[in-house]
């Protein structure tokens, strides 16, 4: 099956090359009529496959302006991105995906590691990725598929991760965040400080977690550990017994009517929270921002057990070579050069190269988003809408405080297959 898709993919690729060639020819013929600058203009197009996190119109427009590279977004969910890499590796050029997917992607041989030497800002990438510590030197929790465990490959075409830095980088980091529970402070009316609150009968019928097994089980594990029922050696790589235990706790809660609903995408989580169907649930930072921008109180609540973190980055398809590969490097270098980083920081995410992002942000913005200081002026979203009034402080505080409190990372477990089956049982219970 994979073999066939590969073959058709190749032929489509040749076809594309052909069209590109034709376009080049057309451009060349333009040169005769007296527009010499189009001579070099084989259109620089990159097909960019990813989730919508990094994909913004503003980013692609700015990129076209600065580099002449036209970005064609192919947006899919995390699961669908992985599926596409496996089955249609020739349907994209640049891949934007999460580090935890690498455990599946790298052995498939469908992605090309990037050469760190060609990435200008590589040495300036935050130590969160390279050393597993914050710039201030706080050690970050490494449970799950932490980026630094899967950042390097042993060789160019190697399918094994290297423990020591090499020049072959699986994913050039772009964006990451520390996730926690979102709450409705106006409906809960008391401080929340532990993941264990998710299963507190007080919130019976008003709690929710996300129905994406590999992420949902991590949240469940944070809860189980917080209630003191079990201490995991690695929440991101459980044994079968641990999976059984985790799912047993969650199933009991479900049967007792603890959960109102589960959510699968961003908008579902926003709707559940905004409509008051749930008052406590696992959530993503921009979803909290969205609820808040609707005029509804919502807090991205820091908890004493820490955060569950995720990170994504760029690599390219195995089929990319020649000028296209050069453009891909040009694009990645552009992405790390500041504009995009600042854009992402202003959405509540974090950028991989802090120095360039800082240079592209106003000092008061940097102070609010990254240093945890009260906003000197009103804080606006990239689209200009008001996010926070002057004086507000970001939930969870500074970059140091938030990233330093990360307890685990999104993961694919060795027992993933078993986990998925158990998760299905939980949903069916």
């Amino acid at each position: 099956m994979t073999e066939t898709t590969k073959k058709t993919g190749v032929s489509r690729r040749t076809l594309l090359k052909g069209t590109a060639g034709l376009a080049g020819l057309a451009a060349g013929s333009g040169a005769i009529t007296g527009f010499p600058y189009v001579m070099s203009a084989e259109p620089k197009v990159l097909r960019y496959l990813g989730t919508a996190v990094n994909e913004g119109d503003d980013i692609s427009k700015q990129c076209l302006k600065d580099t002449g590279i036209k970005i064609e977004y192919i947006t899919a969910t995390t699961d669908d991105v992985t599926k596409r890499v496996m089955t249609q590796p020739n349907s994209f050029d640049v891949l934007d995906t999460e580090y935890f997917s690498l455990k599946k992607l790298v052995p498939s041989g469908n992605i090309l590691a990037l050469d760190a030497k060609k990435i200008k800002e590589f040495d300036n990438i935050t130590p969160v990725f390279t050393k597993g510590e914050t710039p201030g030197g706080k050690k970050i929790g490494g449970q799950g598929t932490a980026p630094w465990k899967v950042l390097y490959l042993e060789g160019k075409d190697s399918k094994t991760f290297s423990k020591t830095p090499t020049e072959f980088v699986t994913l050039i980091p772009t964006v990451y965040n520390a996730d926690t529970l979102g709450i409705r402070p106006d409906l809960i009316k008391r401080p929340i400080s532990s993941w264990a609150e998710l299963l507190n009968p007080e919130f019976k019928g008003k709690a929710s977690i996300l129905n994406i097994p590999s992420i949902g089980i991590m949240d469940a594990a944070m809860v189980v550990e917080a209630t003191g029922k079990h201490k995991y050696a690695d929440k991101g790589n459980m044994t079968k017994e641990e999976i059984d235990l985790t799912m047993k706790v969650m199933t009991e809660a479900k049967k007792a009517g603890q959960f109102r609903a589960f959510w699968k995408d961003f908008n579902e989580s926003v709707n559940l929270m905004a409509s008051g169907e749930t008052v406590i649930q696992s959530m993503w930072s921009p979803a909290v921002t969205k609820v808040r921008s609707m005029g509804i109180a919502c807090t991205f609540q820091p908890l004493k057990e820490g955060y569950r973190s995720w990170a994504s980055g760029f690599c390219v398809s195995k089929g990319v070579s020649g000028p296209k590969l050069d453009w891909a490097y040009e694009f990645v270098n552009w992405f790390l050069s500041g504009y995009a980083g600042a854009y992402l920081n202003r959405q509540g995410y974090y950028s991989a190269v802090l120095s360039t992002a800082k240079a592209n942000m106003e000092p008061y913005e940097w102070a609010y988003w990254m240093e945890g200081k009260p906003a000197e002026k009103d804080i606006k979203a990239p689209d200009g809408s008001l996010l926070e009034k002057a004086g507000a402080v970001r939930d969870g505080g500074s970059y140091e405080d938030r990233m330093g409190a990360v307890a685990c990372w999104n993961a694919v477990m060795d027992e993933n297959d078993y986990m998925v089956r158990k998760w299905n049982e939980f949903i069916a219970a």
Binding site: K83, K104, K254, F262, S275, G276, E277, N424, I427, A428
Partner: protein
């Protein structure tokens, strides 16, 4: 034909003469059975290319092995054994897959029964109570209006209505009928069945209406003349004659509901397992053979239900 014969005649007049010519012309004309094959051909090709061949692939893949990131084209029953893992050990308790199918069947039965009831009476009204053809047309077009918006929108529109702070709850609270919001209105089996009925009743109305308007009105008159009561006419004349429509409508509804996972997911708050949901989770986890195995199981069960139904009514004969 004529022109070619003319040309032949001009070329060698001797040859084109008598019975031989006629026989030649006859064999050049296509036999009726060939023509009917030709007419059915395009549909057959579409059926073959977009249904049978993919189906064969699904069955083949369901017997492949798999790992985290690829399909291994070697014979393996793992897709099936994984699906039923622990089912025997758990007896007499039902295992997940058993429970899931039971839940799917239950939802399917409820939706089928309700859509049949509503659909039958809507069709009955349209076919027998609306006298003018224009009104019949107009009213059946009216039934299609909800279909001018997408499936998803029609489904999601229920959420603000049924939610904890939704219109229904706030209305009931204001009238003082309840003092606590009713929780089971949304994200429950109730909301799933409600949305499915809303979405699919039309698929019952059309085929039933279709068979009802073809019932010869003089049969009903004859029943009336013979002294049958309204109920007797309904049970002994109309229902038997409307059977093909009922069966076709039922097949529509049952196949759609058995395979549905989006409506059940959204309206059930992702908390109700369905056969289609298992397939989706498997596909998302890149476990294609297991997903294919589940698809085959679902297909077999749906097929069994439909076979049973067509045992009751011989559609081919009735049409």
């Amino acid at each position: 034909m004529d022109t070619s014969e003319d040309i032949l005649q001009q070329a060698s007049p001797d040859l084109v003469r008598g019975s031989e010519t006629r026989r030649a012309a006859k064999s050049a004309r296509l036999s009726p059975s060939f023509i009917s094959w030709l007419q059915a051909g395009p549909m057959m090709l579409v059926f073959l290319a977009f249904f049978l061949i993919p189906l064969v692939f699904v069955v083949i893949v369901s017997f492949w092995d798999y790992n985290e990131y690829q399909l291994l084209p070697a014979f393996s029953g793992r897709g099936y054994t994984d699906t039923f893992e622990g089912c025997l050990a758990q007896l007499p308790d039902l295992c997940t897959i058993g429970k899931t199918y039971l839940k799917t069947l239950k939802l399917c039965f409820l939706v089928w029964a309700i859509t049949l009831f509503i659909g039958f009476w809507v069709a009955y009204f349209l076919a027998f109570h609306v006298k003018s053809k224009t009104w019949q047309m107009g009213l059946s077009l009216l039934c299609t209006i909800p279909f001018w918006t997408s499936n998803v929108i029609r489904m999601i529109a229920w959420i603000p209505l049924l939610g904890r702070n939704g219109l229904v709850n706030s209305g009931l609270m204001k009238t003082g009928l309840i003092n606590q919001p009713v929780e089971w209105l949304l994200f429950s089996e109730f909301s799933v069945v409600l949305a499915l009925v809303h979405l699919f009743t039309f698929f019952m109305v059309v085929p039933i209406f279709n068979s009802m308007i073809r019932i010869d009105k003089s049969l009903i008159e004859a029943a009336y003349d013979a002294g049958a009561s309204g109920l007797q006419t309904l049970v002994n004349v109309i229902i038997p004659l409307a059977k093909p429509g009922i069966v076709i409508g039922s097949i529509f509804v049952i196949t759609i509901v058995m395979g549905d996972f989006i409506t059940i997911g959204v309206m059930g708050g992702q908390q109700i397992a369905a056969a289609g949901k298992i397939i989706e989770t498997r596909v998302n986890a890149l476990q294609f053979p297991a997903a294919a195995a589940n698809a085959v199981i679902l297909l077999v069960i749906t097929f069994l239900i439909i076979t049973m139904m067509s045992r009751i009514v011989d559609i081919k004969k009735e049409l």
